[in-house]
Amino acid sequence: MANSVADIKQAMLDDIGAKEIEELFEQIPEDHRLKDELRLPKALRSEAELKRHLLDLLSKTGSCEENLSFLGAGCWQHHVPAVCDEITGRAEFLTNVWGSPSSDHGRNQAWFEYCSQIGELVQMDMVGLPVYSYGCAAGHAIRMASRITGRHRVLVPGLSDPERLSVIRNYCEPEEMASHIAVVPIDYDVATGLLDLDDLRAKISDETAAVYFENPSYAGVIERQGAAIAEIARASGAETIVGVDPISLGVIKAPADYGADIVVGTTQPLGVHMNTGGGVGGFIASRDEEKYVREYNTLNISITETEKDGQYGFGLSCAHQTSYGMREKGKDWTGNSTYLWAIAGAVYMSLLGPDGFREVGRLILQRAHYAAAVLARVPGLRIGFPSGFFKEFVVRFDDTGRTVDEVNGRLRERGIFGGKDLSAEFPELGQCALYCITEIHTKGDIDRLANELREVLR
């Protein structure tokens, strides 16, 4: 600390006209003051010593690099291009705070480029700066739909990620509150994992603010009834909100093209490490209509002109409608978010381009389906929803006589992190796990998994 040097500290106190530091805390009453010294671990001032300490601790954690991992479920192991790490590590992007449109122009432009590229993937003209996560994006979007329609029910898939659904519930419930939005699960077809349209028709009404579904779904299935779902929602005056994994959008149809009014999704697959779950982020997009734009709680970056002809500038648009402008009268609430990951996303999408998205999508599809086919041949294993999935699929273990927990424990001893155990989440599916295959999994990795499972289940 630059001013901890004794003579500087004294000089500053002299300039202030204070005899001692204590005088400066005169506002705090004596009986508010902490009497004792803090009992904290001794300072590690040496960088070498601190580094050693941190490394010693982290040596007790195993990574998905050193092990072979098939975990997904909202946080996915994709390849992060080295350039993404270089750019997000740049001190100007890493350390900056809000700044101004002129002083932090480059960062604002990068944010705009992130929104612009997300807009191309989902085929929507309006994209806000990111929010904390997929679930937070869904929660905000549902509240947006509730404000637009004046209705207070949302229909969600019964086969939802419990993490995401819990976030959504915290954005909508409980019913004692004036702002309450009832979260109503829709049944799914146990054979296909698709939304049960009969149940949707039975539960939708003129009280439904929105129908929310995901593509791919939590179980990995591509919801191919999107257009029909949107049609049913529209007929009831409800908004259609679709959650997407953007890395799928080189091969899977954009949600706007099957009737989505609001699109939300995760940003983590786009150039961000899993970061033990700290890599997650979410986005919200829609048509560029005032009906929607005026309801955004996100900070929004618009391109504009500057005083110099032909020069681009970027500034906040519709900021006053947020809580920064109107406190509790603003739209929902706004805070710090995951804006560095927006820059990672901009870099990632620029690196891929249309062909890269198609290529990565194809690779994931082929490897995931190969994995499902190989695992289906392991005695006792069955694939839950065997067709029409993207990168995740459900593996059922009932016929093995073992629990997923037991199997995963044995796999762990062999350096493999098996798929996420769904058995407690969806008891109707029996002992089952959600396996995730991405572009990083080679044929060799998949064959190794199958062989080890054979051994474990022998």
């Binding site: 600390m1 805390f25 300072a43 705070v97 122009h105 149809k253 391109i303 249309p354 992190f417």
Partner: protein, 519 residues
């Protein structure tokens, strides 16, 4: 005492960088993934046949097509066109700190970056130990009984608190009755906004003559309808409410909970504890006070701590320790569940842990001292500049780690506003300062917060630049009003940003509304 320091001849990098959507050439690639192995392709066939027919993407997304070095250079140019704390950034309420490169290197290691939150806890012991030990450090600093790190920022921690408030009163059968949350006009807007979003009515107390709301105003506001008080102290004018213990007692007597928004912790860290003042819960921003980077607005952490009484309601999983090691305890029937997926921005928590270990208790205490010294040093010099005043000038006690100033006099005398001054200061490599949250209680506000990192020379430079710009406002106001002149771009036109016919949050929208260059 400075005043004669030579102002730097600064000029930002100007790259006149096109929007990335305009760059590149069809067919170029920045990264390739290759094809699946032959056996894989033979086994599953063509990839597109694996997508249900009517769900296949036909038209590819209109993304730019660039080579890897082109992408790298474009974004390096954009980073260079970002002042981003490379100057002196005294962004009040945000506590600018040095972000250790060691911490970045540690966070980039695969044990952090390439770890999955659903890994079995036995494979996460090092991470969990760090988070648990950091929880213990925050308990010592706050007097709380348990911390969680799920909230992705300060506002998310406020939302966590209002969710906790709902769960607490619901468990007592009082939620329907307790539908009001009390806060002050000087509390961060997110306190009021999260309360409203969670379904509460917001009661906002205005300031009394001492710069904080009168105790009587609080007493008049609380009742059997009060669910909670959300309050910061000191506020971002640098004023400490000495009656805060009495406030907590009044709210508790009415049956409400008390949440201490510790966004302004820097000046009081090691000086007081939220728990000892009676609060039920508090929040620290690890991306400001605890040395993790702000990253332009996250990933951040609002570390949320509470009393043992409230702990059953915490969002899960909660990290616990027993003789078998560390655990992710998610078997908590009264828990509010999740406010965000998983258990937090783990890399940022590790950086904050590293910061506290580097500082130690004595270092943290000294940092608080230095930040308050620095603010009072600045105050003395800033108030000597003609046209600069501070909020509540009749209050003579020393302010804490920041002070709210006003350029009202300068604006009246010259027509130059605080926004003009901020725009001009960036011409000297000084990051734009923070004004004040809405509503502006003080006209033409600005709020520098020096923190403990910046040297006296840095602070003198900052003050000299402000003094120079204030002088320019009198001698050459146009140069200030038309600023910046030495930045990456000229002053932006704000009018299109609020015009639905012109605003464009994406390139698609821009091309539709403005014609724009052909794709």
């Amino acid at each position: 005492m400075s005043g004669n320091m030579r102002l730097r001849e600064y000029h930002a990098a100007v790259w006149d960088e096109p929007v990335v959507m305009e760059l590149g050439h069809p067919g170029r690639r920045g990264i390739v993934f290759g094809e699946a192995e032959e056996e894989v392709r033979e086994a599953v066939g063509d990839a597109m046949d694996l997508v249900p027919a009517d769900m296949r993407r036909e038209a590819p997304p209109a993304l730019p097509e660039l080579s890897e070095p082109e992408v790298q250079r474009h974004y390096l140019h954009l980073s260079q066109e970002t002042l981003g704390m490379m100057g002196v950034s005294l962004f009040g309420t945000c506590t600018m700190k040095y972000n250790s490169r060691l911490n970045e290197a540690i966070a980039a290691r695969p044990e952090v970056a390439e770890a999955h939150p659903h890994q079995h806890e036995t494979t996460l012991q090092g991470t969990l130990e760090i988070l648990h030990n950091f929880d213990l450090i925050l308990r010592e600093l706050s007097g709380m009984d348990q911390f969680v790190f799920q909230a992705g920022g300060g506002a998310d921690a406020a939302y966590t608190h209002v969710c906790m408030t709902r769960a607490y009163h619901q468990s007592r059968g009082e939620l329907a009755q307790r539908d009001e949350i009390v806060t002050s006009i000087q509390a961060h807007p997110c306190n009021a906004a999260t309360a409203a979003a969670a379904g509460f009515k917001v009661v906002t107390l205005m300031l009394g003559e001492n710069g904080y709301p009168a105790l009587d105003a609080l007493k008049a506001a609380v009742s059997e309808r009060t669910a909670a008080l959300l309050i910061n102290n000191p506020d971002d004018m640098g004023i400490y409410n000495p009656e805060i213990k009495e406030w907590v007692r009044v709210v508790h007597d009415a049956g409400g909970l008390c949440f201490y928004d510790h966004a302004n912790f820097n000046g009081v860290m090691s000086k007081l504890r939220a728990g000892e003042l009676g609060f039920d819960a508090c929040m620290y921003m690890l991306h400001k006070t605890f040395g993790a980077p702000k990253a332009g607005g996250g990933p951040a952490v609002g570390a949320y701590g509470c009393s043992a009484e409230l702990a059953p309601f915490l969002p899960g999983p909660v990290i616990t320790r027993d003789s078998d090691g560390y655990h992710l305890d998610d078997d908590r029937p009264q828990s509010i569940g999740r406010v965000r997926e998983f258990w937090g921005n783990v890399p940022q928590v590790i950086k904050a842990y590293s910061w506290t270990r580097a500082m130690g208790g004595d270092g943290i205490a000294e940092a608080a001292d230095l930040s308050v010294i620095a603010n009072n040093y600045m105050e003395k010099r800033l108030l000597a500049i003609p046209g600069v005043t501070k909020s509540h000038p009749h209050l003579t006690q020393r302010r804490m780690e920041m002070t709210r100033y006003s350029l009202e006099t300068l604006t009246e005398e010259t027509g130059v506003t605080t926004i003009d001054v901020a725009n001009r200061m960036v011409d000297f490599g000084i990051d734009a300062y923070w004004l004040a949250h809405e509503p502006w209680i003080v006209p033409e506000p600005f709020t520098p917060e020096p923190g403990e990192m910046y040297s006296k020379e840095d602070l003198d430079l900052w003050i000299d630049v402000l003094a120079h710009v204030c002088e320019e406002a009198r001698t050459n106001p146009d140069i200030v009003k038309t600023a910046p002149h030495n930045q990456a771009i000229a002053k932006i036109k704000a009018e299109p940003l609020e015009d639905p016919e012109k605003w464009a949050m994406t390139w698609r929208a821009y091309r539709r509304k403005h014609g724009g260059p052909a794709a």
